[in-house]
């Protein structure tokens, strides 16, 4: 007797009592809003990624527009949350216990 199917536990198995309407549409809209949010709040990362791509006329053009987009979002204050969070993280990285010498003196 071949069952052809092993029962197994997956982390994505949840009880079924949930809204039944259009799960794919709901997921797609969630992903779309996430992407849009990151597009406006994280232009820094997009610019950095384009700069890392192999040089070509297309890459140069994209890098120009990414730079423009980064400036535009920064002028509206949309880049501030990421920049401020990153600054706090760097401060946390640099923090030392009292008796420990700074890392550049080790």
């Amino acid at each position: 007797m071949v069952s052809g199917h092993d029962e197994f536990e997956s982390p994505v198995d949840l009880p079924r009592d949930e809204p039944r309407r259009k799960p794919l549409g709901w997921t797609t809209l969630t992903i779309f809003v996430t992407s849009l949010f990151l597009l406006v709040s994280n232009a820094f990362a997009i610019k950095g990624w384009i700069d890392e791509q192999p040089t070509s006329p297309l890459q140069a053009s994209l890098a120009y527009w990414a730079g423009e987009w980064e400036d535009a979002t920064a002028s509206l204050g949309l880049a501030t949350p990421r920049a401020e969070l990153h600054r706090l993280w760097k401060e946390a990285e640099a923090a030392r216990f009292e008796q420990a010498p700074p890392s550049n003196q080790r």
Binding site: S3, S10, E18, P23, T34, L36, A45, H86, A92, R96
Partner: protein
Amino acid sequence: MLFPTLTFGLFFLAVYALVWTVGARNNEWRKILLLVASWVFYGAWDWRFVALLIASAFINWSLGQLIAHAKARSEEGEPAGQAKALVTLGVVANLTILGFFKYFDFFLSEIAPLVTNLGFARDLPLLQIVLPVGVSFFTFQGMSYMIDVYRGRTRPASLLDITLLMSFFPHLVAGPIVRASHLVPQFQRSPKMDRGMAAMALLLIIWGLFKKAVIASELSTQFVDPVFFDPSAYGSADLVFAAYGYAVQIYCDFSAYSDMAIGLAALLGYRFPRNFDQPYRAASLQDFWRRWHMSLSGWLRDYLYIGLGGNRGGLFFICRNLVITMVLGGIWHGAKWTFLIWGGLHGLILTAERVWRELKPSWMPAMPRPIAVLLTFHIVVLGWIFFRAETFDGAIAFIKGITAWHGAATIVTPLGVALVLLGLSMHFGPPRLMQGLAMRLRFVPAPLLGLMTGSAILIIDAMRFEGVAPFIYYQF
């Protein structure tokens, strides 16, 4: 193409859109799309190895078909034995692929001094073989399919299904090791998604991103790598911190990959098995292996340990089978003596646990659970030192440095301590906390959930270390 990069993010968005639009009309086209996408994903490392992946899938599919026919003929009265010969041939073929790419150069470099001393040769032909990413994972998957067909645990599948099983990009390079009996039945029907599955998928991807990009990367670059590179330059406290740090790093690195793989597959409508279950809360090494890399430990149990005789034949044979299984499990990770010693250490401790369970006087109380957890964790950490060290001598120097107990902590920082404690505390929270959260999130309106997801990714991106190191398990 690494998961936590914008390149992969764009690739995945394209695959998601194609699979749920073009692929939604016909399940065969969906699978073809996923297969091509998986080859593009794999080809981003090295296009030449896509051919190896296809060849390996073809070999396993062909042998699966032949084994099924041989079994059918033997049931009709023809002599048995042909199916067994075919499955043996298949195992040898898979191990040959694995052995050539993974162990050939190591084997030659190890026997070279011996051969030279015997006066037979001076220079053996080292080939500088490039290791195909994920070769250990996809050969094990192919082998398990063939053996399952032989054992009657799964039906022979189509070439498309087997090729996709072995190539499917979420699990291709670092698992979980998804068996044919898990995934092929899912491939044979149109995948379904519900909100709970999607919410859990998004949570797993974000949680995995945090564990990898923030915890594992920070611990690796700031603490673990420098100390393991030159243990003699650091005092005992730094060495202890680096050992704990590596225990957290490898968990956060590998479980992050598994979480993201499971989440990505779920967004495409497929279920993958759980691969980690709070391993550092284990109260014995046997318990640890039920929680750590569960798809590999299950594979080793079903296809190696049981094949060796499993629990049959008395205590001596059980212990022998345990040691052999764990030593081979260690070598599966790579051609290095340190992996062999890591596997051997686990095998010996598992044996000691087994013997103790058999011989422990009934009047003797069991060890209190907190002490057992602490002891098990430190045995695991000891094993990780061998696993991480480049050489056996390096591991011994590291351990000697700890036991010498000299030198103040110079690299330990408040952030490092916080990350190690966070990485350990993950093992002692409610086991199904994330599922509980996903059950609430599935009722959240999509625009709000999108903003929450985007905010979480933005926070992680602000904290992440510059650049993304490959996952530790990519090298296996």
